[in-house]
Amino acid sequence: MSDDRTLQSRRDALKCMAYGAGTLFTLVGGVLAPIDLALAAGTPKERLGKPLFVQISDTHIGFSKEANPDVNVTLKQTIALVNGMVQQPALIIHTGDITHLSKAAEFDLAQQMLSQLRTTELHTVPGEHDTSDATVTEYFDRFGKASNRKGYYSFDHSGVHFIALINVLEFKPGGLGILGAEQLAWVASDLKGRSASTPIVVFAHMPLWTIYEPWGWGTGDADQLTEQLRRFGSVTVLNGHIHQIVQKMEGNITFHTARSTAYPQPIAGQGKGPGPLKVPADQLTKMLGVSSVSVVNHPHSLTIRDSTLG
């Protein structure tokens, strides 16, 4: 096969993948521009940007029900997908529900599997499944160092400021999980004096805007966080929890939830609750995947691209 034909078949493959893999979002100067991946496939590499990080979410190691009897296999596929990226991301973010039942053996296996990623810098936040043990210690014993066991912390990479938040421990009675006054005050101090031109990435497990309150798909006091983020020119807010992609823009803030690598969940309000959704076996990997975020025209813009496993 000639090089031209190889290139053409790669383009065709990318074009085909595009319809299952979603849309590339380019955020330039605070304006989000969706680009069909079929078009993005023909975009020069330099315009697609340098991969900054990949978001992995809701791996649910320990889950073994009908919706996906072997979540280890789909996590291995996820790791192979990320390791196969031509340009490796600088870091990996896991937005929670690393495990299904907060068991020590589940955390140990998840850590062992995630250590197979070529990119070794891993940042995490816990999901409610990671804090469901009786003592609420298993997650923090392993991943609590960055936050001094509080669950929230910040760091900088490539000119981007990252803020990791926890919204699965405190809650409004009968309502949504919350960040809480102490954490919100910490965010205010963390952002104080920071230039409005600094790209900000915020990540937590549960959505930081209300998608569907009856199922707990939101954060009760997220509005107070959003107010603090409005002055920045580029803000990307990433979550997991709902096992499907939902996104919105509000001013310069892009909100985006990621797919799970374990199993899909129903669309909001369809069914009795936010449990595992069983789909035909040949559909499963089309509903699982990761999000990658790249820097374009550094440091002014970030792009989000979603990829599925199948």
Partner: protein
């Protein structure tokens, strides 16, 4: 794991409790505490089904052991009056048992699904 037969019996008990409760106050009233479900002396059971505790309100005598059984595909847990007791994650068909020794009204919730709430009244 629990047998199909005992699960059917549990559901009969729950259905009876729900039917008895439906004969009572108007729909706007808070749910009355249901009598303890059938079981060996000094024990009682609460089902977890469709993201609900069934019954949502249970009345028992001091010294009763209450067992929660999860019949959902999703995992849950049981938090008793913020500090009195806390289970680990309860997977499908798994159980958690807690003995209520002191009279009082105890609030029950699942930390994984905040709308799941119930009450145990200990006499």
């Amino acid at each position: 794991m629990i047998s199909q037969r005992s699960r059917r019996l549990s559901w009969l008990s729950v259905a009876l409790s729900v039917w008895l409760a439906s004969c009572g106050p108007s729909p706007n009233s808070p749910p009355p505490a249901s009598p303890a479900l059938a079981g060996p002396s000094g024990t009682s059971q609460i089902l977890i089904k469709d993201f609900k505790f069934i019954p949502a309100s249970l009345s028992i005598k001091a010294g009763t052991q209450v067992t929660w059984v999860n019949h959902d595909d999703e995992a849950h847990n049981v938090i008793i009056s913020d500090g009195m007791g806390r289970s680990g994650a309860i997977d499908t068909d798994e159980k958690y048992t807690f003995k209520f020794n002191k009279p009082g009204e105890y609030h029950i919730r699942c930390s994984m699904h905040h709308r799941m709430a119930g009450t145990v009244v200990v006499q």
